[in-house]
Symmetry: C2
Subunit: 140 residues, 2 copies
DNA sequence: CTTCATGCAAACCCTTTGCACGTCG
DNA sequence: CGACGTGCAAAGGGTTTGCATGAAG
Protein backbone atom coordinates (compact mmCIF):
# COMPACT_ATOMS: atom_id res chain seq x y z
CA UNK A 1 0.00 0.00 0.00
CA UNK A 2 2.51 2.51 1.14
CA UNK A 3 5.13 0.82 -0.99
CA UNK A 4 4.66 3.14 -3.90
CA UNK A 5 5.64 6.26 -2.05
CA UNK A 6 8.48 4.53 -0.26
CA UNK A 7 9.86 3.08 -3.42
CA UNK A 8 9.79 6.43 -5.12
CA UNK A 9 11.49 8.09 -2.18
CA UNK A 10 14.10 5.39 -2.10
CA UNK A 11 14.82 5.88 -5.76
CA UNK A 12 15.23 9.57 -5.15
CA UNK A 13 17.95 8.78 -2.65
CA UNK A 14 15.90 9.70 0.39
CA UNK A 15 16.52 7.92 3.64
CA UNK A 16 13.74 5.56 4.57
CA UNK A 17 13.45 6.17 8.26
CA UNK A 18 10.89 4.81 10.67
CA UNK A 19 8.79 7.95 10.91
CA UNK A 20 8.77 8.36 7.16
CA UNK A 21 7.52 4.83 6.71
CA UNK A 22 4.77 5.40 9.22
CA UNK A 23 3.63 8.63 7.66
CA UNK A 24 3.70 7.08 4.20
CA UNK A 25 1.45 4.34 5.52
CA UNK A 26 -0.98 6.93 6.87
CA UNK A 27 -1.09 8.62 3.51
CA UNK A 28 -1.65 5.33 1.72
CA UNK A 29 -4.49 4.49 4.07
CA UNK A 30 -6.35 7.65 3.13
CA UNK A 31 -8.02 7.84 -0.16
CA UNK A 32 -8.41 11.15 -1.78
CA UNK A 33 -7.09 14.38 -0.45
CA UNK A 34 -5.91 15.02 3.06
CA UNK A 35 -4.58 17.93 5.02
CA UNK A 36 -1.52 18.11 7.19
CA UNK A 37 -3.91 18.32 10.12
CA UNK A 38 -5.48 15.01 9.05
CA UNK A 39 -2.15 13.26 9.21
CA UNK A 40 -1.27 14.87 12.49
CA UNK A 41 -4.57 13.67 13.92
CA UNK A 42 -4.06 10.17 12.52
CA UNK A 43 -0.62 9.99 14.01
CA UNK A 44 -1.70 11.12 17.40
CA UNK A 45 -4.72 8.82 17.35
CA UNK A 46 -2.46 5.83 16.78
CA UNK A 47 0.03 7.16 19.24
CA UNK A 48 2.88 7.01 16.79
CA UNK A 49 5.42 9.27 18.31
CA UNK A 50 5.87 11.41 15.23
CA UNK A 51 5.89 15.14 15.64
CA UNK A 52 4.07 17.72 13.58
CA UNK A 53 7.31 19.03 12.18
CA UNK A 54 8.25 15.68 10.73
CA UNK A 55 4.95 15.47 8.93
CA UNK A 56 5.34 18.90 7.39
CA UNK A 57 8.89 18.09 6.43
CA UNK A 58 7.89 14.89 4.71
CA UNK A 59 5.07 16.61 2.86
CA UNK A 60 7.55 19.16 1.54
CA UNK A 61 9.81 16.37 0.44
CA UNK A 62 7.01 14.53 -1.30
CA UNK A 63 5.89 17.71 -3.01
CA UNK A 64 9.43 18.37 -4.21
CA UNK A 65 9.47 14.92 -5.76
CA UNK A 66 6.10 15.49 -7.34
CA UNK A 67 4.62 12.57 -5.43
CA UNK A 68 1.98 14.71 -3.85
CA UNK A 69 0.58 17.98 -4.99
CA UNK A 70 -0.84 20.74 -2.94
CA UNK A 71 -4.31 21.85 -3.87
CA UNK A 72 -6.31 24.71 -2.51
CA UNK A 73 -9.81 23.69 -1.63
CA UNK A 74 -12.69 26.06 -2.38
CA UNK A 75 -12.96 26.89 1.31
CA UNK A 76 -9.36 28.00 1.42
CA UNK A 77 -7.90 24.98 3.17
CA UNK A 78 -4.70 23.49 1.89
CA UNK A 79 -4.81 19.84 1.03
CA UNK A 80 -2.50 17.35 -0.57
CA UNK A 81 -3.25 14.68 -3.11
CA UNK A 82 -1.01 11.78 -3.96
CA UNK A 83 -0.23 11.72 -7.64
CA UNK A 84 1.99 10.59 -10.43
CA UNK A 85 4.75 13.08 -11.15
CA UNK A 86 3.63 13.52 -14.73
CA UNK A 87 -0.06 14.03 -14.37
CA UNK A 88 -1.27 17.49 -13.93
CA UNK A 89 -4.76 18.38 -12.84
CA UNK A 90 -7.08 17.06 -10.23
CA UNK A 91 -10.74 16.52 -9.99
CA UNK A 92 -11.85 16.36 -6.41
CA UNK A 93 -15.11 15.04 -5.11
CA UNK A 94 -16.68 17.58 -2.79
CA UNK A 95 -18.65 14.86 -1.03
CA UNK A 96 -16.06 12.20 -0.21
CA UNK A 97 -12.78 13.75 -1.23
CA UNK A 98 -11.99 11.17 -3.89
CA UNK A 99 -9.51 12.29 -6.49
CA UNK A 100 -9.28 11.65 -10.19
CA UNK A 101 -6.26 12.72 -12.12
CA UNK A 102 -6.90 14.43 -15.39
CA UNK A 103 -4.28 14.65 -18.03
CA UNK A 104 -4.32 17.59 -20.31
CA UNK A 105 -7.70 17.67 -21.99
CA UNK A 106 -7.42 20.69 -24.17
CA UNK A 107 -6.31 23.12 -21.54
CA UNK A 108 -3.54 24.27 -23.83
CA UNK A 109 -6.12 25.62 -26.20
CA UNK A 110 -7.56 27.65 -23.37
CA UNK A 111 -4.24 29.07 -22.29
CA UNK A 112 -3.20 30.03 -25.76
CA UNK A 113 -6.55 31.66 -26.38
CA UNK A 114 -6.23 33.59 -23.14
CA UNK A 115 -2.71 34.57 -24.07
CA UNK A 116 -3.84 35.80 -27.47
CA UNK A 117 -6.60 37.92 -26.02
CA UNK A 118 -4.65 39.41 -23.18
CA UNK A 119 -1.17 39.77 -24.59
CA UNK A 120 0.24 37.97 -21.55
CA UNK A 121 2.82 35.27 -21.94
CA UNK A 122 1.55 32.35 -19.95
CA UNK A 123 4.09 30.46 -17.92
CA UNK A 124 2.01 28.23 -15.77
CA UNK A 125 -1.48 27.57 -14.67
CA UNK A 126 -3.43 25.86 -12.02
CA UNK A 127 -6.68 24.10 -12.72
CA UNK A 128 -8.75 22.46 -10.06
CA UNK A 129 -12.07 20.83 -10.77
CA UNK A 130 -14.64 20.18 -8.09
CA UNK A 131 -17.61 17.89 -8.40
CA UNK A 132 -19.04 14.56 -7.37
CA UNK A 133 -17.60 11.17 -8.08
CA UNK A 134 -19.80 8.42 -9.54
CA UNK A 135 -20.29 6.81 -6.13
CA UNK A 136 -21.41 9.95 -4.37
CA UNK A 137 -23.58 10.94 -7.26
CA UNK A 138 -25.57 7.72 -7.16
CA UNK A 139 -25.54 7.48 -3.38
CA UNK A 140 -27.58 10.62 -3.17
CA UNK B 1 -11.77 55.39 -8.47
CA UNK B 2 -13.15 53.76 -5.38
CA UNK B 3 -16.64 54.62 -6.47
CA UNK B 4 -17.21 51.35 -8.19
CA UNK B 5 -16.81 49.24 -5.11
CA UNK B 6 -18.74 51.67 -2.96
CA UNK B 7 -21.59 51.86 -5.37
CA UNK B 8 -21.82 48.10 -5.57
CA UNK B 9 -21.76 47.80 -1.80
CA UNK B 10 -24.42 50.44 -1.46
CA UNK B 11 -26.62 48.60 -3.90
CA UNK B 12 -26.17 45.48 -1.87
CA UNK B 13 -27.53 47.30 1.14
CA UNK B 14 -24.24 47.49 2.95
CA UNK B 15 -23.56 50.41 5.24
CA UNK B 16 -21.05 52.81 3.82
CA UNK B 17 -19.00 53.61 6.86
CA UNK B 18 -15.87 55.68 7.09
CA UNK B 19 -13.44 52.78 7.43
CA UNK B 20 -15.09 50.97 4.55
CA UNK B 21 -14.69 53.98 2.33
CA UNK B 22 -11.05 54.25 3.24
CA UNK B 23 -10.30 50.62 2.63
CA UNK B 24 -12.15 50.74 -0.69
CA UNK B 25 -9.95 53.66 -1.68
CA UNK B 26 -6.85 51.67 -0.81
CA UNK B 27 -8.02 48.81 -2.95
CA UNK B 28 -8.80 51.12 -5.84
CA UNK B 29 -5.35 52.63 -5.59
CA UNK B 30 -3.70 49.27 -6.07
CA UNK B 31 -3.66 47.73 -9.43
CA UNK B 32 -3.54 44.04 -9.71
CA UNK B 33 -3.74 41.64 -6.84
CA UNK B 34 -3.09 42.46 -3.23
CA UNK B 35 -2.99 40.62 0.03
CA UNK B 36 -4.69 41.45 3.27
CA UNK B 37 -1.23 42.26 4.58
CA UNK B 38 -0.77 44.82 1.78
CA UNK B 39 -3.88 46.66 2.84
CA UNK B 40 -2.95 46.48 6.47
CA UNK B 41 0.44 47.97 5.65
CA UNK B 42 -1.13 50.68 3.48
CA UNK B 43 -3.53 51.60 6.22
CA UNK B 44 -0.88 51.82 8.87
CA UNK B 45 1.43 53.77 6.56
CA UNK B 46 -1.22 56.41 6.11
CA UNK B 47 -2.14 56.25 9.72
CA UNK B 48 -5.75 55.59 9.03
CA UNK B 49 -6.98 54.21 12.25
CA UNK B 50 -8.47 51.08 10.78
CA UNK B 51 -7.77 47.78 12.46
CA UNK B 52 -6.76 44.51 10.91
CA UNK B 53 -10.06 42.93 11.74
CA UNK B 54 -12.00 45.52 9.81
CA UNK B 55 -9.94 44.85 6.73
CA UNK B 56 -10.50 41.12 6.91
CA UNK B 57 -14.19 41.69 7.54
CA UNK B 58 -14.53 43.93 4.52
CA UNK B 59 -12.64 41.49 2.32
CA UNK B 60 -15.07 38.78 3.34
CA UNK B 61 -17.95 41.06 2.52
CA UNK B 62 -16.52 41.94 -0.87
CA UNK B 63 -15.86 38.31 -1.63
CA UNK B 64 -19.45 37.44 -0.71
CA UNK B 65 -20.64 40.02 -3.18
CA UNK B 66 -18.29 38.73 -5.84
CA UNK B 67 -16.54 42.07 -6.03
CA UNK B 68 -13.20 40.56 -5.23
CA UNK B 69 -12.06 37.03 -5.61
CA UNK B 70 -9.54 35.19 -3.58
CA UNK B 71 -6.75 33.58 -5.55
CA UNK B 72 -4.02 31.33 -4.31
CA UNK B 73 -0.65 32.36 -5.60
CA UNK B 74 1.81 29.67 -6.63
CA UNK B 75 3.84 30.30 -3.49
CA UNK B 76 0.83 29.58 -1.31
CA UNK B 77 -0.02 33.15 -0.39
CA UNK B 78 -3.61 34.29 -0.47
CA UNK B 79 -4.33 37.30 -2.57
CA UNK B 80 -7.41 39.12 -3.70
CA UNK B 81 -8.25 40.58 -7.07
CA UNK B 82 -11.01 43.06 -7.74
CA UNK B 83 -13.36 41.76 -10.38
CA UNK B 84 -16.71 41.95 -12.01
CA UNK B 85 -19.14 39.48 -10.49
CA UNK B 86 -19.68 37.74 -13.78
CA UNK B 87 -16.17 37.24 -15.03
CA UNK B 88 -14.48 34.18 -13.95
CA UNK B 89 -10.81 33.53 -14.37
CA UNK B 90 -7.72 35.52 -13.76
CA UNK B 91 -4.42 35.86 -15.42
CA UNK B 92 -1.85 37.22 -13.06
CA UNK B 93 1.49 38.69 -13.95
CA UNK B 94 4.18 37.07 -11.86
CA UNK B 95 6.41 40.10 -12.27
CA UNK B 96 4.20 43.04 -11.41
CA UNK B 97 0.98 41.48 -10.19
CA UNK B 98 -1.17 42.95 -12.95
CA UNK B 99 -4.41 41.14 -13.53
CA UNK B 100 -6.33 40.39 -16.67
CA UNK B 101 -9.77 38.91 -16.49
CA UNK B 102 -10.48 36.11 -18.86
CA UNK B 103 -13.96 35.13 -19.76
CA UNK B 104 -14.64 31.58 -20.64
CA UNK B 105 -12.31 30.64 -23.48
CA UNK B 106 -13.26 27.05 -24.05
CA UNK B 107 -12.83 25.87 -20.52
CA UNK B 108 -16.23 24.24 -20.75
CA UNK B 109 -14.86 21.89 -23.34
CA UNK B 110 -12.16 20.91 -20.90
CA UNK B 111 -14.53 20.32 -18.02
CA UNK B 112 -16.90 18.25 -20.05
CA UNK B 113 -14.08 16.20 -21.43
CA UNK B 114 -12.76 15.63 -17.93
CA UNK B 115 -16.24 14.73 -16.79
CA UNK B 116 -16.67 12.26 -19.60
CA UNK B 117 -13.38 10.55 -18.84
CA UNK B 118 -13.74 10.38 -15.10
CA UNK B 119 -17.44 9.88 -14.57
CA UNK B 120 -17.48 12.80 -12.13
CA UNK B 121 -20.17 15.43 -12.30
CA UNK B 122 -18.37 18.73 -12.32
CA UNK B 123 -19.87 21.46 -10.22
CA UNK B 124 -17.22 24.10 -10.22
CA UNK B 125 -13.67 24.74 -11.10
CA UNK B 126 -10.88 27.10 -10.43
CA UNK B 127 -8.47 28.18 -13.10
CA UNK B 128 -5.58 30.48 -12.42
CA UNK B 129 -3.13 31.46 -15.11
CA UNK B 130 0.29 32.85 -14.28
CA UNK B 131 2.54 34.66 -16.71
CA UNK B 132 3.91 38.01 -17.74
CA UNK B 133 1.96 40.98 -18.90
CA UNK B 134 2.98 42.82 -22.07
CA UNK B 135 4.76 45.53 -20.09
CA UNK B 136 6.86 43.22 -18.04
CA UNK B 137 7.63 41.05 -20.99
CA UNK B 138 9.08 43.91 -23.01
CA UNK B 139 10.70 45.54 -19.98
CA UNK B 140 12.93 42.57 -19.58
C1' DC C 1 -32.75 55.41 18.88
C1' DT C 2 -31.60 51.01 17.44
C1' DT C 3 -28.82 48.42 14.89
C1' DC C 4 -24.71 47.46 13.19
C1' DA C 5 -19.61 48.32 12.54
C1' DT C 6 -15.23 49.34 14.78
C1' DG C 7 -10.78 48.98 17.28
C1' DC C 8 -8.22 46.70 20.26
C1' DA C 9 -6.18 42.75 22.17
C1' DA C 10 -6.26 38.22 22.94
C1' DA C 11 -7.05 33.87 21.09
C1' DC C 12 -6.41 30.61 17.43
C1' DC C 13 -5.05 28.17 13.98
C1' DC C 14 -1.27 26.40 10.84
C1' DT C 15 3.44 26.08 9.79
C1' DT C 16 8.42 26.79 10.58
C1' DT C 17 12.64 26.86 13.25
C1' DG C 18 16.42 25.89 16.79
C1' DC C 19 18.46 22.57 19.16
C1' DA C 20 20.02 18.41 21.66
C1' DC C 21 19.47 13.67 20.80
C1' DG C 22 18.84 9.45 18.08
C1' DT C 23 19.11 6.81 13.90
C1' DC C 24 20.47 5.27 9.20
C1' DG C 25 23.58 3.45 6.15
C1' DC D 1 31.31 6.77 12.68
C1' DG D 2 29.48 10.74 10.31
C1' DA D 3 25.72 12.76 8.23
C1' DC D 4 21.29 13.35 8.50
C1' DG D 5 16.51 12.95 10.55
C1' DT D 6 13.70 13.51 14.75
C1' DG D 7 10.90 15.28 18.62
C1' DC D 8 9.96 18.86 21.34
C1' DA D 9 8.89 23.39 22.41
C1' DA D 10 8.92 27.87 21.16
C1' DA D 11 8.46 31.26 17.70
C1' DG D 12 6.16 33.09 13.79
C1' DG D 13 2.64 34.63 10.59
C1' DG D 14 -1.90 35.12 9.21
C1' DT D 15 -6.77 35.29 10.49
C1' DT D 16 -10.69 35.29 13.77
C1' DT D 17 -13.25 36.48 17.90
C1' DG D 18 -15.13 38.89 22.20
C1' DC D 19 -16.34 42.96 23.90
C1' DA D 20 -17.13 47.75 25.11
C1' DT D 21 -17.43 51.90 22.39
C1' DG D 22 -18.84 54.66 18.48
C1' DA D 23 -21.09 55.73 14.13
C1' DA D 24 -25.00 55.07 10.52
C1' DG D 25 -29.50 55.39 8.92
Amino acid sequence: MSDELLRALDQAGVRLTGPRREIAALIAKRNGHFTAADLIADASKRRLGVGRATIFRLLDLLAEQGLVERVDLPDGRHAYVPCEPSHHHHLVCVACGAIAEVEDCGIDAVTSEASRRSGFTIESHRLELFGRCPNCRSAN
